[in-house]
């Protein structure tokens, strides 16, 4: 059996497969399906300082090869997240490795949430700083699509916490490698990509947008080639580890990302289709490594033949 562990410098994951934020709830929703400690990490849905309603409905639509969503980061707020058994306390009990996805509408809020998580960091392995949600006006796209703001917000989080930070990058930019370099410079310990692609769908019978928010984030199998290209570019632009995601539904999809230069991967939309998808991905990677004579998953990072 090959070595599946991934070294992130400040922390190690037992295998390279995590769940993508927002597609796995707060973890507990999937605890009845299998033992969550088998995953590389559970990345929870985005948390901010206060509870938020999220966007009006309809929030989701199916499109060919994927889906659109504009959930708008509905969530319980940091207090409930830290202390209610449905959230972090419950998830900790499952033995899962927890990465907390976080956001705010101002730079100060990002720093505040990071500081709160830092103060109660027991059971938290890392923070994922979401600067790339296309579905909230402030806090999402605003920070993730402006190089200067991206640098500022990551610096502020860096100053607020000693926890390792992963910055989640937006694909809705001209050159994603520039953003990866900016957040690396600001002190990010890793980057994850891609968040959803800004998109739209229209119901021709009602002549209304299918999503109340009008614009929504596109994810699922159809976005994979875009994501693989971006992971390839980013992994060559920065020295910090890269977490690749976007359309992974099978182990073969995940291996593509690892060959493109990702150190680890996340399974997103595929969880909605098959709750067991992340476990199947782990199983396939293990077999692929053995079959092809690789001793560790890390070897794949430099195995692409170009």
């Amino acid at each position: 059996m090959a070595d599946l562990s991934v070294d992130f410098g400040k922390f190690t994951l037992k295998n390279p497969v995590m769940t993508a934020s927002g597609t796995f709830g707060y973890g507990m929703e999937y605890a009845e399906f299998y033992d969550l400690s088998r995953l590389g990490a559970v990345v929870v849905k985005g948390i901010r300082s206060i509870p938020s309603h999220g966007n009006p409905t309809p929030r989701i639509a199916e499109v060919t090869g994927g889906m659109l969503n504009a959930i708008g980061l509905q969530g319980p707020g940091i207090d409930k997240f830290l202390h209610d058994d449905h959230y972090l306390p419950g998830l900790k009990k499952t033995g899962a490795t927890v990465i907390v996805n976080m956001w705010g509408v101002t730079i100060e809020e990002y720093a505040e949430v990071a500081a709160r998580l830092d103060a109660e960091s027991d059971g938290i392995t890392a923070l994922e700083v979401n600067i790339s949600c296309p579905n909230v006006k402030a806090g999402g796209a605003a920070f993730g699509t402006d190089l200067k703001l991206a640098h500022e917000v990551v610096s502020a989080v860096r100053n607020a916490t000693k926890l390792p930070i992963i910055t989640k990058l937006s694909p809705n930019v001209g050159n994603i490698a520039d953003f990866a370099r900016a957040v690396e410079d600001a002190g990010s310990d890793a980057v994850s990509l891609i968040n959803t692609l800004s998109a739209m769908a229209i119901d021709i019978n009602t002549r209304k947008p299918k999503i109340a928010n009008k614009f929504a984030g596109f994810s699922g199998p159809a976005v994979k080639p875009v994501a693989v290209r971006m992971v390839y570019e980013v992994s060559r632009a920065v020295k910090i580890p890269v977490i690749g995601m976007g359309g992974i539904s099978t182990g073969a999809d995940a291996v593509e990302f690892l060959l493109a230069g990702a150190d680890a991967v996340a399974v997103g939309t595929a969880n909605f289709v098959d709750p067991f998808a992340p476990l199947k991905v782990i199983h396939f990677i293990n077999e692929y490594l053995d079959k092809n004579g690789f001793k560790s998953v890390a070897e794949l990072k430099n195995a692409l033949i170009v």
């Binding site: 709830g25 929703e29 999937y30 929030r59 989701i60 959930i71 909605f272």
Partner: protein, 258 residues
């Protein structure tokens, strides 16, 4: 969970009934709960489709569905011996009627599928008030009658039963059975449910409504299926709850009418 199809037959027009061999799931299922079905493994229409559990007898999950689009079209083409992947039973279902209460199911279209198992959980013979656009969408009435339910029908075009809305049948029912205790179970299109909630509240009647929305994960993880639920203690007076796991059945008192 992989479940084999035992039968898949036409009920009438666009309506079909499919039976899955799913013993463990059937044993846990109640009225108002649903199964979340991965019809087949395709990469174009990826999402699961939710269907109310119509019946769960003899180790089988029965679903009654209307063919409305690509997913239900593909479900129709399934043959006995084929399989689908099922998650379920999902959600909070209807409560069982108290012994001295007459259960009244108020349904629109395929909503009649969701309340069917109440027929097995009641002491008093119940009533089904069923509404639809026209006679072609009035389903399952014989099944209800066989289980001792009285069925009253309303259609928009008057092709069967009362010409008008299903909620207009409530007054007549109350007049016919004076002094009886009723409990209402609603399942149907959103505007119908909102009208029903208003009428029940105005008449001081109690009940439960199945309020759902397009679903994605079906397990409470995506927050795609939320509906507004009354929360008088909050500034807005409502909160978004997940219809898949916090519902789809909500108490009348919790229904938020805008």
């Amino acid at each position: 969970m992989k479940a084999f199809i035992v039968s898949n037959e036409q009920l009438q027009n666009d309506y079909y009934r499919i039976r899955f061999d799913a013993r463990e799931m059937a044993a846990k299922s109640g009225p108002g709960q649903f199964v979340h079905v991965r019809i087949d493994e395709r990469n174009d229409n990826i999402l699961r489709r939710p269907f109310s559990i119509h019946n769960a007898e003899n180790g089988m999950i029965t679903v009654v569905y209307k063919v409305v689009g690509t997913g239900t079209e593909r479900l129709r083409e399934k043959l006995p011996g084929d399989s689908c992947d099922l998650i379920g039973p999902v959600g909070v279902g209807f409560s069982s009627p108290e012994d001295d209460v007459i259960p009244v199911a108020v349904c629109g279209g395929y909503g009649a599928a969701a309340t069917f198992m109440l027929t097995q959980r009641t002491k008093q013979p119940g009533v089904l008030l069923l509404g639809a656009r026209s006679a072609a969408d009035i389903i399952l009435t014989k099944e209800y009658e066989e289980r001792g339910f009285e069925v009253k029908i309303a259609t928009d075009d008057g092709s069967l039963g009362h010409k008008g809305r299903v909620t207009e049948l409530i007054d007549r029912l109350l007049a016919e059975k004076p002094g009886k205790k009723f409990f209402f179970y609603g399942c149907g299109p959103h505007p119908m449910l909102m009208a029903l909630a208003k009428i029940l509240k105005a008449k001081n009647l109690d009940g439960e409504l199945s309020i759902d929305h397009f679903m994605c994960c079906g397990v409470g993880a995506c927050f795609g299926c939320v509906v507004k639920i009354a929360a008088p203690e909050t500034a807005d007076g409502w909160v978004y709850k997940r219809s898949c796991v916090d519902g789809p059945v909500f108490k009348l008192a919790d229904v938020y009418a805008e």
